[in-house]
Amino acid sequence: MHLDPWNLLAILGMAAGSFGCRAGGYWLFNRFNPSPAVRTVLSYVPGTLFVSYVVPAVAHGGPKEWIGAAVALLTVKLTGSLIWPIFTGTAAAWLVWLLP
């Protein structure tokens, strides 16, 4: 259960990095009132952000990620649930991984 001082500093620095991003965007936008164009861009950001996260992760993966993602999407479509796709997608990826 040791606590190395450099490790502690790194952890505190990382914490400043994550909280700075979480609260900093809101803080900045409160000081600089965004134009209608910026608001329009932001209205698209929720979707485009998730697409930007998922597309490279799936593309840089292999059959395991491709089939897992397809099964996860199909499961949301069929069940409307956000919990089942985690299981079915991971199970499908696991099956592909087990195949020789």
Binding site: G17, C21, Y26, P46, S52, L82, P85, T90, W94, W97
Partner: protein, 241 residues
Amino acid sequence: MTASHHPLAGKVVFTRVGFLRGLRACPPLVVGGLPFGLVTGLTAQAHGLSLLEASLMSLLVFAGSAQLIVLGTWVAPVSVLSASLTSLTVNLRFLLMGPLLAPWMDQVRGWRRWLSFFCMIDHNWALSLKEIETGQPDAAYLVGSGVPIWISFLLFTVTGHVMGSLVATAPGHPLFFAALATFVALLLPMWRGRSDLMPWLVAGGVALGVSQLLPGTSWHIVAGAVAGGGAGLLRERWTRV
């Protein structure tokens, strides 16, 4: 972003009812955090962090993907600057996400506001946006759905660290896919219709390109999100005339 002309202006509250509403929405998110937490604990243990250090990191940083990327390159003595900058970079997407919660947060003060931002992750942020869109006035929803994820992430990290000394997880293990599956699943409720098609294609293409240029960072997420948003703006300008 001022909320003076927003339908929720002057109506936002922060109550136990909203907290409980968020609490009820969070079980899938807690499950979604399970692989992140376990893998974070496993990786921390594999790179020589003590249980106390791994726990402190999940407690204070609370960012699974950032922690995983930093821990993957963790060597003693660790570079404080590099670890901090990596955490900042991987979390840049939060800079874009926070302002969209303004209809709630403009009317929430002090510790409630900062605790809300502290426990904001991708998933409860997306759910909170839906709440705001449907006119729900109780901003405690974000904390209600976020605090259980925070605590369970810490517990899963501890579990992963303890497991680390017992089992070895291969880098390409499908357990890691569970984290991605949660994000894939969120795409469908995000789809607003055909107007999203072109911006999403641009986002995916730009993100793919940047991820190849700057591997191991989250710049591709920021670049793709902004490029896709810009494409949406151009599309709206185009169709208006």
